[in-house]
Symmetry: C2
Subunit: 200 residues, 2 copies
DNA sequence: GTCTATAGGTAGATAGAC
DNA sequence: GTCTATCTACCTATAGAC
């Protein structure tokens, strides 16, 4: 009698599932993917998968937690010492934003995951609704603080940057990554960050 | 014996269903809504609803067709005579964009419908995948043509405008419409449309 | 034009064997 | 840790009565 399944350590299995979950949820959304599909992709059964996470919702939360854990490290590095004492120049801000875009461009599956979930989670009964409400508010505050050296309305500028960032990344995804994300962002950021001058 | 249902003309019933469908699909996506929920909202049964559209997919297409029909009229009006012979000034472009944003701001349920479907439809097997591929390509061409009087890279500028437009509208939705969409767009558009100057 | 009834499928989750 | 089997719920769509 042959073994029909592979035994794996708890941590290895969890990591494997979480990686696959990022892609399958990014493709289909939380509502659109099934635990069974994810399980098949991980070469196991749905019951086996649920043993590790308990429920579909708990799996989603685990995915988001894991991403946050990794993002925290990377973003702290990108902000570097700058974050501690406010960047001194628009040029420093431009470089920080550039690093964030570059990082996202290297991981289109995460752009997609967040784009998908953020739209789904506008519905108040979505399990990630509160998560994104808090996360987006925090991002807005962080960006406002970051750019307050540039103009007299950091709140508005932060909104513009977040909107442009989101919009450009999403378009890049839909376009099947057919243009140079970082290059286009640089041009866009130049316009957003340039001090306001008189109209033409 | 009392009547348990309301008889209605074919056209009235279709119109009623389509209006409700915009909201329910915008809330839950195509994958996330059920014909039964929509039917309940229209005070009828799912079988009764399907009598009018045949299938869930056909209903989605009918929603998109109906929107296109109405949008064509409105957008033609917004572009006005300008479209026929290329706007002569950045100011004219600015006004056209402003009208488009204003129109969308008056109909948040459509912003939501399109935001939801556009993300869902990145998946190649989504019934609206091809629809949005064609639609977005056409929008990009139209905007590039519209702004070619402004800079030397209309392709890139059109991308930037579309990205900023999408991103800002989506943020406005998520924020529960807590900021002035048209006002913020004006500020953003100023920066995008201002001719490129030297860095500070 | 709308209903009831139902077919046939898939979903998430649990129980218990190994 | 993973499986098989099963429960319950819900889904889309169709058939046929009214």
């Amino acid at each position: 009698m042959t073994r029909t399944h592979v035994r794996m350590s708890k941590d290895d299995r969890r990591a494997l599932i979480l990686t696959a979950a990022v892609e399958i949820i990014g493709d289909n959304g939380f509502r659109g993917f099934s635990i069974k599909d994810l399980a098949v992709r991980c070469e196991m059964t749905d019951a086996g998968l649920l043993h590790h996470f308990g429920s579909k919702t708990a799996l989603l939360m685990a995915v988001l937690d894991e991403r946050d854990r990794q993002d925290e490290i990377a973003i702290a590095a990108a902000l570097g010492d700058e974050a501690g004492h406010d960047p001194r120049s628009p040029e420093a801000v431009r470089q920080i934003l550039r690093m964030l875009v570059q990082r996202n461009g290297d991981r289109p599956e995460f752009i997609r995951l967040y784009a998908m979930l953020r739209v789904e989670a506008i519905a108040p009964d979505h399990p990630a609704h509160e998560y994104f409400r808090l996360r987006d508010a925090a991002a807005h505050r962080m960006f406002a603080r970051l750019v307050h050296v540039i103009g007299d309305d950091p709140d508005s500028l932060a909104r513009q940057i977040l909107a442009a960032l989101d919009g450009l990344e999403l378009q890049w995804l839909r376009d099947q990554q057919a243009f140079d994300l970082v290059g286009e962002w640089d041009k866009l950021a130049d316009k957003l960050l340039r001090p306001t001058g008189p109209r033409e």
